[in-house]
Subunit: 134 residues, 3 copies
């Protein structure tokens, strides 16, 4: 198994495109296999999405509708509504498995991989990539 | 890694059972390993579900409640509410990993694999299967 | 591929921490690779979550908001609102892939793996672990 660990600066951005980082790792390891993408964080997730046409903001805003940033949450430290961030990974998982074909990250034309991070208190995220060849 | 690519006609169907296609591939590759199931599309997802007892329609209808087909979405081309389809894959991922035991797709008695596709504008979908033996 | 099958008693608990079980299997198999975690059930899912700080109850309660236990569901056998349990796995998948580094389950400091089971009618669950080394 080959590994790479990346530091991603999300800052106040709720959706951060990491496709280029994954494609670069796939190219470097080469060959065929599975790429395991993982965030070792309890308040962030990974999603496949078309970016750049509004869906990134649509997703970020709709997360505020589905997981309201109000005082309903027991887990209530940090900024207001932060408990919502802690429930997010149950719906948008921090674990994602993709395929690599001959060093090429296998994605559809309109798919990008994004880091979903509604937690502005944590502007730096670690992204773990592992490749299992076959 | 062994691969198979399938064309699935979803038409206007929102939930399409693809279990037989996956089980057939598992049988053909034989052995033990992981089966990576992937949709290279930005408006569809994969789910494990009991089918044929109402839950398929329950899921499709409830997606309209959770992701309303109204004018809230920035991504607004195509048919009304189509922006909802672009947010769907963040919650119902187009990537799913299953196990194969000696050529048998490992599923529980009541589990089927379904393609979730609320986008009626796209009646044809590509399904990518990859098997990594172990 | 190495396998382990566990019986988990969830009882009336909606969130059950299974991290220790997974870490024990990772230790026993040793080496590097991918750990496939799977529930062969149609009314349960797996999530990565910080436990013990309120988010477990937050998630369980919020599932009742997102998937209300009322009479909207076609799939309507069993206890009231049971149809919601059958839709749950589309959003909280029963399939989860994790990484193992030299026999250590790769998780972040605040991450635990939980079995999400809103179906009190089924107090016993089977958990399937498979390890594919690399």
């Amino acid at each position: 198994m080959q590994r790479r660990e990346l530091e991603i600066t999300t800052g106040a951005r709720r959706i951060t495109d990491v496709t280029a980082e994954l494609a670069g790792f796939a190219r470097d390891v080469g060959g065929d296999g599975l790429l395991h993408v993982f965030l070792p964080h309890a308040t962030a997730g990974l999603a496949l999405l078309e970016t750049g046409a509004g869906s990134d903001e649509d997703l970020a805003d709709h997360l505020d509708t589905l997981l309201p940033r109000d005082d309903r949450w027991r887990h209530a430290h940090g900024s207001p509504g932060h408990g919502a961030d802690h429930v997010l990974p149950a719906f948008v998982s921090p674990s994602l498995t993709l395929a690599v074909d001959d060093g090429r990250l296998a994605l559809g034309t309109w798919q990008s991989v994004v880091l979903v991070d509604t937690n502005a208190d944590n502007p730096q995220r670690r992204l773990e990539l592992r490749f299992l060849g076959g």
